[in-house]
């Protein structure tokens, strides 16, 4: 299949560019630090003692520094939401890059793990070198107390050693709990271990401040390799032997004074601290802002509706809450679990006529089943209570709103929205916004494809779809909305029988959609346009759509792919 350059450039180009740039910075940092320790004059004696282990460990440390500062940045949800919303400041290219923030976080995390392995291995070699090559000439340079000291004692007795071991353990716990499998099966393990990053950063500050590696501070007065009358034979031999190689042509200099060594802290470490302190402070500030915002504003539950196929619709009211269509919120219910926050896409946004906002939640795991039980419990008393006391809903806290790729639907002239099952929720909000006022948006045509396994699922938004269709028909725009419903479960005879849903039943097809035909149809009807493709559903569908977006022969239609993910 031929790869269309225009689509590929729009879909993959910026992402790969940023990746290249990030890899280049990492390589540059590694190389620069490596060469500094390999051939820098102030590290001459240290390099002689430790060899290549010194260079590799310090170079990997600088890469680790860089990535530890960067890894927190994609997790500033409020900042990213703000950037997404400020359409005058950032272009669509930048906003689409913000969709990839989680991927970038994972890339930084994996780099941290890989380079930690390199760093630890190099330092193990250094420990042995410190022990075996104990230097009597420059006692200030040593970490060991005597020649041949057990390297394990060195680890336990030095601050960098102990903090290093603790850091590896914390990283081990965080890394092993972050695989896809664990996130899907027990999200709590992932969440609680990942919050150990606070401990990680505190220990990291101490690790850097250790000061085990020293540099020579008086290089001008004592050029490395110079001879001294009282020096032992070791240095004299070395200096004599390397005279030709390192100081080619230069006469053997005499030292004016003894070599002085100083640990790096505090001068050198300042700029390391700077990166980490800035990112930590920003993260704490953002966390505090979100915490205050979510706990001070009271949330009232207005109504709870139970839908078929284990879906519960929750309508809430909160003052000063102004989300945009397509955004999501984090719900926290202290009666179920104090520390868990679960993301749900908003299905209804507050408008001028109706101030409530709503979410549809599918009851799948233990949190949602407990929460829906609390919401739907019927009062058991037989007497008729007044309206106020009849329903006691649990308190909830709402954190958000946070941005998601689905906000871009309105910024294309033609959009294709593909939803799988409960993944229809971001698009439900879009449809609701169109129902309120479709004229204010740039969007001219919307293709809506909804694939479900169960026929009853279509009833979640059947009224909304039919209502929107009616509205557009009355406004003389019948071609604005193209709906295709697919039922992937082909067993048995199924159809939507109700008269008022005739619009949907005539668009219901049994079987899986044929994406190629759909794309061909869209291409033919919208030539030379830029079509936004939005997918919220299972991996199989999103992969198929992604490939089709990038392969686009012959016509000038470009398909820009936007994927919505949660966990």
């Amino acid at each position: 299949m031929s790869v269309a350059l225009k689509s590929w450039r729009a879909n993959e180009g910026p992402k790969h560019l940023i990746m290249m740039f990030w890899i280049a910075v990492n390589v540059f940092l590694f190389w620069r630090t490596f060469m500094l320790y390999f051939s820098g004059a102030q590290y001459y004696y240290l390099h002689k003692m430790l060899g290549l282990g010194l260079c590799i460990s310090r170079a990997s440390a600088s890469v680790l520094n860089f990535n530890c500062s960067l890894v927190l940045l994609p997790m500033f949800r409020s900042l990213l939401t703000f950037l997404r919303g400020s359409q005058r400041v950032t272009g669509r290219c930048v906003r689409r890059l913000l969709d990839k923030s989680k991927t970038f976080h994972v890339a930084c995390g994996v780099t941290i793990c890989v380079f930690s392995v390199v760093h630890v291995s190099a330092h193990l070699v250094n420990m042995v070198s410190f022990s075996v090559r104990y230097s009597e000439d420059f006692p200030a340079l040593n970490v060991a107390q005597y020649r041949g000291q057990d390297p394990r004692i060195l680890i336990i007795s030095t601050v960098p050693g102990v903090t290093g071991v603790l850091l590896v353990l914390v990283l081990f716990l965080m890394f092993t709990a972050s695989s896809y499998c664990i996130r899907v099966s027990s999200y709590e393990i992932f969440w609680y271990t990942h919050n150990l990053f606070i401990v990680f950063y505190i220990i990291l500050m101490l690790h850097v401040a250790g000061g085990a590696l020293k540099y020579q501070s008086n290089v001008e007065a004592h050029p490395p390799g110079c001879t001294h009358n009282n020096l032992s034979s070791w240095t004299n031999h070395k200096a004599a032997g390397e005279k030709g190689a390192e100081f080619s042509g230069a006469p053997q200099t005499v030292c004016q004074e003894e070599a002085h060594f100083q640990p790096h802290f505090p001068q050198f470490c300042m700029y390391i601290y700077m990166y980490m302190i800035i990112s930590r402070c920003l993260y704490c500030a953002e966390w505090l802002y979100r915490f205050i915002r979510s706990s001070t504003a009271p949330v009232t539950i207005v109504s709870v509706v139970s839908h078929p196929c284990d879906v519960v619709e929750l309508r809430m009211l909160m003052s000063g809450f102004k989300p945009r269509p397509g955004q999501y919120i984090l719900l926290n219910c202290p009666s179920v679990s104090s520390f868990e926050n679960h993301p749900f896409t908003l299905t209804t946004c507050p408008t001028g006529k109706n101030e409530t906002f709503g979410v549809h939640l599918r009851v799948l795991g233990d949190w949602t089943s407990r929460f829906s039980q609390l919401l739907l419990q019927k009062s058991n008393s037989s007497e008729i209570l007044p309206m106020m006391q009849q329903r006691r809903y649990p308190t909830v806290h709402v954190d958000g709103p946070f941005g998601s790729p689905s906000e871009e639907v309105f910024n294309y002239e033609v959009s294709l929205c593909v939803a799988g099952g409960i993944g229809v929720t971001p698009f439900a909000c879009v449809l609701q916004a169109l129902f309120d006022d479709w004229r204010q948006y740039k969007l001219r045509r919307l293709y809506f494809v909804w694939v479900c396994r169960d026929l009853q699922s279509f009833y979640w938004f059947a009224d909304l779809l039919c209502g929107l269709r009616e509205r557009l028909w009355r406004d003389n725009r019948p071609d604005y909305l193209n709906v295709q419903l697919y039922l992937s479960n082909t067993q048995g005879l199924q159809s939507i029988g109700e008269e008022r849903y005739r619009f949907l039943s005539s668009r219901l097809r049994i079987g899986r959609p044929k994406w190629k035909l759909l794309f061909q149809e869209i291409r033919r009807a919208n030539q030379l346009k830029r079509v936004g493709v939005f997918c919220c559903g299972p991996k199989g569908i999103s992969k198929a759509l992604h490939t089709l977006c990038n392969s686009n022969p012959h016509t000038g239609t470009a398909f820009e792919y936007n994927k919505e993910t949660f966990s």
């Binding site: 291995s121 193990l124 353990l169 081990f172 716990l173 092993t176 499998c181 899907v184 233990d366």
Partner: protein, 186 residues
């Protein structure tokens, strides 16, 4: 909080710990550290733990995602029966394997990580979990609907041949008009 599957996390930890153990062993042997014999043991133990932990267990409820190419490992691990099924055995095995790593510098980290994994396995065993192999499901052969049991063996019943032939004198009783005239004994 709901039922947490400890075994899944313990499996990831043990796999990572096995890799760390083996890497530490390689560094120890390559650098010829003091006590490099323990490093050799570290490599062997690390590889063994990786092979044992590679096949994922089937989840109690929900879909299990298996690792790439884990089927042959599943078959090997399944062959050991209750030894590999029981998580108490695994917990004690990992604890025993990790102890020699503590005697040598390069394998100390592997020892600690494998020790943590062993503790989590103990927790999983106390919660009553056990290892289940993920075996490929054989698709049941596509069954046609129940109403079609067998195709009919016999043709539909017809009257005997004498009654089938249209008699010329009974043309009026015939249900349709013949396109050609019917003559007797044709």
């Amino acid at each position: 909080m709901g039922k947490i599957e400890w075994a899944m996390w313990a499996n990831e930890q043990a796999l990572a710990a096995g890799l760390i153990y083996a890497t530490g062993g390689i560094v120890g042997v390559a650098g010829q550290f003091r006590g490099w014999q323990f490093a050799c043991f570290g490599i062997a133990a690390g590889v063994f733990v990786c092979l044992l932990e590679y096949p994922r267990s089937k989840r109690g409820k929900g879909t299990s995602v298996e690792r790439t190419g884990q089927y042959c490992f599943t078959v090997c691990v399944k062959a050991f029966g209750p030894l590999t099924r029981n998580y108490y055995v695994r917990a004690f095995l990992h604890a025993a394997l990790c102890v020699p790593g503590g005697f040598m510098l390069a394998t100390v980290l592997g020892c600690v990580c494998l020790g943590i994994g062993s503790l989590i396995y103990l927790s999983a065993a106390i919660h009553g979990e056990h290892w289940e192999p993920i075996l490929p499901r054989r698709e049941p052969p596509k069954r046609v609907g129940d109403s079609i049991k067998e195709p009919p063996q016999n043709p539909p019943p017809r009257p005997p041949p004498e009654h089938r032939r249209k008699k010329a004198d009974k043309l009026e009783a015939a249900a349709y008009d013949n396109p050609m005239s019917v003559t007797v004994n044709e």
